[in-house]
Each structure stands twice: as C-alpha cells, then as structure tokens.
Amino acid sequence: MACIHKFALGSIAALALSAGAVPALAQQGLDEPFQKTFREALAGKTVAYVPVAMNFDLTEGWYAGLKKELEPFGVKFVIRDPNWNTNAGAQAVTSLISEKPAVMVIHNPDVQTYAKLLQRAENEGIYVIQINMGSAYRSSAFVGANWIEIGERQTEGVVKACQGKSNKIAIIQGALSAAASAYTLKGVENVLAKHPEIKVVSSQAADWDAAKAKAITQTVLKQNPDLCGIVGFWDGMDIGTAAAIKEAGLTGKVFLATSGGGERKGACELVKNGSFDLNMSYDVPTQAAQMAGTIKWLLSSGAKPGSVKGSEYTTLIPITKENADSQMACWNLSDLKK
C-alpha cells in the first residue's frame, strides 16, 4: 500500500515536474551567439556624414533615415555640412580623417575632388560609403542611383512621347562636373544613338538652378514652339523648366522627364499637377536603409576597410500620373524625421 502510495506520489511529482520543466527550459532560452558581438561592434562607433549640403530633400532624407537606423544601436552620428562649398567639403573630409570615425558617408560634389582623400581615409582604417554621386575612387560601398539607367529611361520616355510629332527635344543638364549630370548625359546619348530621327535642338547646363533652367527653356521654346520633349536632370531644378513650359501654354504638349529623390511635395505633387510627365525616383528612404544596412554589415564583419568593394544600385520608381496618388510612390520628409 505504501509502495503504491509512493508510486502515485512519485508519478504526480514527475508529472508536475515535467509539466513545469518544459516552460522552465523555454524561459531559459537559447543564447543567440552573434548578436552580442554585433552590438559590441556598433556601440560607441562614430559614423560621419558629409553631404554636398543639408537642407534639401535628398540629404535631409538620408540623414533622417541613417539616424533612425543607427542611433538605437549606440552609434554616434555626426554631420559636417559644407553647404555647397566643395573646398569646405574637402576640408571636412580631411579633418575627419584625423578624427578617425569608424565610417564616413560621403556625397561627392564631383568625381575628382574627394577621390584621393577617400583612398587615404580607407588606408587609415575608415570605411567609406559613397552616396548617389560617386567619385573616381571605388570605396567599400557605393549606394545610389544608376545615372546611366536614369538617363536612358528618361530619354526612352521622351522618345516615345515624341512619336508622330516633331522629334525635336532639349536637354537641361545639371552641373557639368557632377557625376550625376555626366553619367545621365551618357545614358541620354545611349538611347539617342538608337534613334537618329530625334534631333537635339539644345543641350545646356543649368547648374542645378531652377531660375537658369527656366531662362534656357523659355528661349528654347520660343525658337522651337514645336518641341516635343525635354530631358531634365533633377526635379529640384526642373521646377523652373516646368514653369517655362506652363508659361508658354505647352503643358501636356511638351513631355518633361526628370529625376529626383521622390519626396512627395517635390515629386508626386508636381507629377499630379502636370508639371512633370515622368519623374524617375531613386527613393531616398530605401537608399538610407541600404546605407544603414551596409554600415551595420561592415562594422560587424570586421573586414579591413578597403578590402571589400561593392555597389548597391537603387531600384528606380518611375512616377507618372498613374501612380502619383499611391502611398508607395513617394515619401514625406516630415514623416521620415519623426
């Protein structure tokens, strides 16, 4: 009897134990072996950001996106704003090299100025990530738009719109020395080579300046009122191009293709009101996320700066009247900053 009793007690105890044991084991959990080293690799590291200037949708968007992704991991995020001054930018990069941040995020004003400096930075053990406008030096990573593709797709849009019309087009370039402008022009040329019927009546640089773009477009439209399309190189500048088209009463008749970061006010709203017919967006928040991902990966990989080199070209979003209303086509800077 005692024996049975003992057995019963034992079984109950075993049951109770086993019942309790399963959650107890789960509560103990499994230690994920990599997250600690990941956190340690990021915490306290400095990431320095040198845009060509703050205060416009692209650079503000990258800044907000990087901050959001990096700061929760204890990364110190510093910014040096050259405010469109290439010399100030070169100085900022030079002084950063001696300050030795872990990563430098660089937005190049042209292909040459920073090239040597960026190479030096990587030799000093700093990872260099270049955004959107690359330099002649290939660093750890380039994250940005494929300008040649942008030029090609914009021009294809314009060529298509010109079918059965005058076949006369104009090109409004940015600043000649900037990678974005030079490579986009190459893309434009690639497509034009396949379409000998298209005649370029004007191809001028407006220096990323809306007022200059407007002045050039006004003159070109007066000379060629039958123009069927314009390839513009940046939506911030092409507000001026669009204003000239509107003033000439040619909205809807002259197809205007441009490109930009896809901020709602600067892109979707202007496509909706007919200022732009096509805006190739390189979607700044996605670019920021890709940069942040690359930074996390590089820091946690332990790879020697300069030993790996890769590129992440942005998937382009063509914004037209069809998708300008959608929530996904554009982004709001104010939301990204929240």
């Binding site: 205060n55 000649l176 004007s202 640089a205 220096d207 300046d209 003159t219 070109v220 000379q223 911030g236």
Partner: protein
C-alpha cells in the same frame, strides 16, 4: 586739338549694338518680337537687382547682402504661407525683414563706419545663415496652395508683355523718380560724389546712407518675389551662386563707376541689355556652358580694356574709393 572722350556707357552700348546687330543678321529667330520679350524676361530679375545695387553704388557704397535680401524674405513668404499663415501677413513679415536688413547695413556703415564691403558681406552671410538655420525647412521653398494668384507677379503677361518685364519697368520708373526728382536722390549723388563736402554743406549724410541700404534691401526683396513667382518656388541657396557678381557687372559695365556719384537707371538698363543679349544669343546658338563663360569674360574684358585706352587714368581723374 580736341580729344575724343567716349564714356564706358557708350562703349558698352556700342558693344551691345554690335552684338545685337550681328545676332539679328546671322541668328535665325533672334530678332522676333517673341524672342526679344524672352530676352528681357530672362534678365528682368537681374535688372531689378541692378537698380538696387545702383542706388548704393551711386552713394559710393556696395551691397553684397543684396542676394540674401532677395532669397531670405522671398523664401520667408513662401515658407510662412506653406505653414498656414495668410499671404498678407507673410508679405508684411518679409517687408519688415528686408527693412531690418537695410537698417542694420546702413547703421553699420553710416554710424559704426564699417566699410560697406565688409559690413554687407557679414550681414549677407548672417541673413542667409538665419534663413537656413531658423526659417526654412528646405533650401528650395516650394510653392503652396495659399500662394494662388501671387504667381502673376512673375508669370503671364500684361497687354502682351511678360509680367516680369513690366515689374522691371515699374522698378526703373520708381528708382528714376527717386534718384532724379526727389531731394533724397540729389543727396545720394552728392554723398557719392564727395561725402565730406556733402556733410559740410549740411546734407544729413548718415540717415541718407541708411536710406540707401534700406531701399536696396527692399528692391532685393521685390526681385526675390518676382523670381519666386516666376519659377514657382524660391531656390534660397541662390545666395551661394555667382549672381552678386552678375549684378555688380550690370552696374559697372553699364557705366556706374564704383567711385560713386555718377550714372543712373539708363546705365542699369544698358548693362542688363548687354548681358541679356549675350545670354540669349548663346542659348540659341547652343554654346556649351564653358564656352559661354569664355565668351562672357572676353566681351567684358574688351569693354574694360577699351575704356582704359580711351579714358586713361591719372592722378586727376582717379578718385578715392575705387575698388
């Protein structure tokens, strides 16, 4: 023997006439009424700014903060309307800001006796910085729905003439009347010609100098509004561009000497026409950017060198205050 004296104004006019004639003959589509209007329209804002600069230069000063006075108050209007303020309130704020810029410039130069070059360089930087740091969310301030109707200040036309040209014409008339028909205008010339003599004869030099800079800032603000209305946005980083040199060029090339006391509205118009003709002709010819700069520089050099040959300087003709 009587020596032939041709003023710089006449030389520049001759260069302008020569360019204009050759473009008219050789460049198809240049001499159409439409293109003439476009030519003027493209330089209207530059011309308005030239008028502001002319007032200051005639009074033997210079205003490097003019572009900040164009960009920041103009941008403020667009930003305030975007943030939900009414258009009249925004315009009033911009006007007050422009007056404040002028007052600070004038006070620094007239009372603290800081040389105009340094005073306006500093205020220009300060105002541009203030705009970027405190007033604007983005460098390019976008047009918003609350501005509806205001774009007519820079777009469209009145009796077939583009509005920006009309605005330039109005500014010319106002500045002409001010300089030539009022006592204040006469004082400005007197101060520019000889500030010490002007003070001795009882002209209130200091308040008049303050007035010059307030007028320049207000004209700059007006140019900014015309520009914003014309391109449907305010690209405030225009402060970093070379526009200020173009403005000084228009004034000096037109024949308003930096030594003060000479010239007027006609000189600004001539200077503006020369720049306008060059830019328009080169755009039609589709001359690339670098080539355009080369030609601009060459034409300017020819004008300046011709002037030096025809009007050589000596101790008598050289004036104190030249830059």
């Amino acid at each position: 023997m009587k020596r032939v004296r041709i003023s710089q104004q006449e030389i520049v006019f001759a260069v302008f006439a020569a360019l204009f004639l050759s473009f008219s003959v050789f460049l198809q589509g240049f001499l159409s009424a439409d293109n003439m209007l476009t030519l003027l329209q493209n330089v209207a804002v530059l011309g308005i700014l030239g008028l502001g600069m002319a007032i200051v230069v005639i009074g033997r000063g210079i205003d490097l903060s003019l572009i900040a006075a164009l960009a920041v108050p103009g941008g403020l209007v667009l930003q305030m309307v975007q943030n939900g303020h009414s258009l009249p309130a925004s315009l009033l704020s911009a006007g007050l800001l422009a007056i404040a810029i002028g007052l600070v410039n004038g006070w620094l130069i007239a009372y603290a006796e800081v040389p105009p070059l340094f005073a306006t360089l500093a205020t220009g930087l300060f105002v541009a910085g203030l705009g970027q740091a405190a007033l604007f969310q983005l460098d390019v301030v976008q047009w918003s729905d609350g501005m509806a109707g205001f774009e007519r200040l820079g777009q469209g036309s009145i009796l077939g003439i583009p509005t920006s040209i009309v605005m330039f014409a109005i500014a010319c008339v106002v500045v002409f009347v001010l300089l030539r028909k009022t006592r204040w205008g006469a004082y400005i010339y007197a101060i520019g010609d000889n500030p010490f003599a002007a003070r001795v004869t009882g002209i209130p030099s200091r308040p008049i100098i303050v007035l010059q800079y307030v007028l320049a800032a207000l004209i700059g603000c007006f140019a900014g509004l015309v520009m914003a209305a014309s391109v449907n946005s305010m690209p405030t980083r225009i402060f970093n561009s070379t526009l200020i040199y173009d403005v000084i060029l228009v004034v000096v090339l037109g024949g308003i000497g930096l030594s003060g006391g000479r010239g007027g509205v006609v000189n600004v118009i001539i200077g503006t026409l020369l720049i306008g003709t060059m830019l328009n002709g080169m755009t039609i010819l589709n001359i690339p950017y670098a080539g355009q700069n080369l030609i601009k520089g060459l034409v300017l050099l020819i004008a300046v060198i011709t002037d030096t040959f025809l009007n050589p300087r000596n101790e008598e003709t050289a004036q104190q205050g030249d830059i």
